[in-house]
């Protein structure tokens, strides 16, 4: 559709934004890579120099690192499973014609507008708190001991909080996808003798695959970097039980004040994110093709 000259012109037009974006991305990445090979401790600024792969070696030798890696993947995987499954079910419910549909939909979407530290604080103090929390009150109502959520089950608690925050996003995307399904297709399936369950299995679910793919990809990007919720609730603890990779990097940079190691952690996180992205695109990326 385009001639050679328009294509050339198009490249010139696009070039500035591409260059800006490239610099925008490459400068911080290059700086991180640079620092990751340097000795750079804020508490002893006089000592500096190249240290080769020492910072990386420290990370791989740290027992916390493998725990953090597992926790990061657990968090991403757990939240994805919960939000996609519950999201589909809630979207199914919201798609039914009911009175007060508009208000209901806004209520369902509302958690998404609560900023992460606030959401985490609410969960920590109003729900999971062993004295004041709602869950503790319920447990006492049944005569049971309140569960110490953040102490006994730190990772599941963090996953629950993050899932609560991201459920509206999944629901919203899946609901719009569901609404784009032609009613004639469902009626045809009904005429063909498909039960409600079969209609869900053979018509609705395949129709949703692309939306589910989008939800998984977008959420993965954001979930890999989850930090605020952990910082406000468990602080990565008890011990390192709920430390994720971003939180471990934060501890190196701000608590240990070792910028070199933090930078090495950052590079490792970038590589991890790319590995995850590669496998995600390989396994579900084909659903994005029209």
């Amino acid at each position: 559709m385009s001639t050679q000259s328009t294509r050339l012109a198009a490249r010139f037009m696009v070039a500035p934004s591409v260059i800006v974006l490239f610099i925008w991305m490459i400068v911080p990445l290059a700086m991180t890579a640079y620092f990751s090979f340097r000795l750079y401790r804020l508490l002893s600024p006089d000592r500096s120099g190249w240290v080769g792969f020492n910072n990386y070696v420290w990370f791989f030798n740290s027992p916390d690192f493998w725990l953090a890696l597992t926790n990061t993947l657990l968090l991403v995987g757990g939240v994805l499973i919960i939000t996609v499954i519950l999201g589909v079910l809630i979207a199914l419910l919201l798609d039914q014609p009911v009175k007060g549909q508009g208000v209901l939909r806004i209520l369902v979407i509302a958690p998404f507008f609560v900023m992460p530290p606030v959401a985490a604080s609410i969960w920590e103090n109003l729900f999971m708190h062993p004295q004041n929390g709602l869950f503790a009150a319920i447990a006492r109502g049944f005569g049971a001991q309140p569960i110490l959520f953040l102490e006994s089950y730190p990772m599941p608690s963090v996953i629950a909080i993050v899932a609560w925050e991201w459920l509206p996003f999944a629901t919203l995307i899946l609901l719009t996808a569901m609404q784009s399904l032609s009613s004639e297709q469902l009626e045809a399936a009904e005429m063909d003798g498909a039960s409600a369950l079969s209609r869900f299995r053979y018509i609705i679910l395949p129709h949703l695959t692309r939306a589910i793919t989008v939800v998984i990809l977008i959420q993965t990007i954001f979930l890999l970097g989850i930090f605020g919720e952990i910082y406000t609730t468990t602080q990565g603890g008890p011990g390192s039980a709920s430390t994720t990779l971003p939180y471990m990097i934060f501890k190196q940079a701000i608590v240990a004040k070792d910028i070199g190691r933090a930078a090495a952690g950052g590079i490792i996180a970038v590589i991890l994110a790319n590995i995850v992205a590669y496998f995600l695109m390989r396994s579900i990326g084909k659903h994005l093709d029209a």
Partner: protein, 330 residues
């Protein structure tokens, strides 16, 4: 078997009576066409028979058994939708086989039926394709294939050809007619196109505002319309309906004359030609006759009149007479 009887079926959406009350008997093996202008309730009526809408009151009997409360799948009917409603993520084969799979049919038997349906509909080479890779006419055939594999008591077609281009529509019309000849299954076909109705139907049901205006064979409707609505709706170009003194001469409130029953040359009516369409085989001309209005005339192909010509017309042939209520007079 596919005998369908409607007994005082009523359907209202809230306050609005879409179908006030309809009685209709459809015999086994008949090709029945519901025809009428948009919004006349013909699609609603079809959906009531299919079970996709609940009746407000009245009963629907299929093969003598009350089916009013049965869910769609239990009625033994198959439907072809206007949008075809194919399942986009399934291949043609899976689309056609879907009702069989839902019925839990043995895969080998299902395969046999799919192959048979595909060969009847010339789809054998397309079985592994997805609906998105097919042309409009092929999609239409897949939708029909999905209907015939179930061997239903009756087929329901909801304006199936309205998304096709003109040439394809004529072809599919003939294919559906041939399909009816070979299957001999009851078919109910909804359309707003009276040409489809005339060419395909054993029995036409003309609907207007949720009421049945007339039921009969195509030619019965054409030659002896029961009222002005049917007279005006069936036939193309439209029948000329003339009121006033000219009608009074025939002792009627309105008279109707088909365009082919008017001759050009000498006659009592004189007017100016407005539009003239020369099709080669026929000429359709519209003549503005003072006192009568625009008169449609169908003349021979070689009729040489053009826009602006003054010509004389004479009625020659049957004149339909209608009373003040629009009903035909003997």
């Amino acid at each position: 078997m596919g005998q369908i009887t409607l007994k005082s079926v009523r359907k209202s959406f809230g306050e609005v009576d879409v179908i006030p009350s309809i009685d209709l008997a459809i015999d086994d093996g008949e090709f029945v066409v519901f025809v009428g202008p948009s919004g006349c309730g013909k699609s609603t009526l079809l959906r009531l028979i299919a079970g996709l809408e609940d009746t407000t009151s009245g009963t629907i009997e299929i093969d003598g058994k009350d089916a009013t409360a049965l869910p769609p799948a239990k009625r033994g009917l198959a439907m072809v939708f206007q949008s075809y409603a194919l399942y986009p993520h399934m291949t043609v084969k899976k689309n056609i086989g879907f009702p069989l799979k839902m019925a839990g049919m043995d895969p080998a038997e299902a395969e046999k039926r799919i192959q048979r349906a595909a060969s009847v509909l010339n789809l054998t080479n397309y079985l592994e394709r997805k609906p998105g890779q097919l042309s409009g006419g092929q999609r239409q055939r897949v939708a029909i294939g999905r209907a015939i594999v179930r061997e239903p008591a009756a087929f329901l077609f909801d304006e199936p050809l309205s998304n096709l281009d003109a040439a394809l529509r004529v072809g599919m019309r003939q294919e559906i007619s041939e399909l009816h000849q070979s299957l001999k299954t009851t078919m109910i076909y909804v359309t707003h196109d009276q040409v489809e109705a005339m060419t395909m139907a054993d029995k036409i049901v003309v609907l207007n505002a949720g009421r049945i205006e007339q039921v009969g064979s195509p030619l019965t409707l054409y030659h002896t319309p029961k009222n002005i609505f049917v007279a005006g709706f069936i036939g193309s170009p439209r029948m000329n309906l003339i009121e006033g003194p000219e009608a009074a001469k025939h002792n009627a409130h309105t008279i109707g004359i088909r365009p082919e029953h008017i001759t050009v040359g000498d006659g009592p009516w004189e007017g100016v030609v407005g539009l003239s369409e020369h099709l080669g085989s026929d000429s359709f001309i519209k003549v503005d006759v003072p006192g009568l209005g625009i008169i449609n005339v169908r003349g021979a192909g070689e009729l040489n009149v053009h826009h602006g010509d003054r010509i004389k017309l004479a009625p020659a042939g049957k004149i339909h007479r209608f009373d003040a209520n629009g009903m035909a007079m003997a």
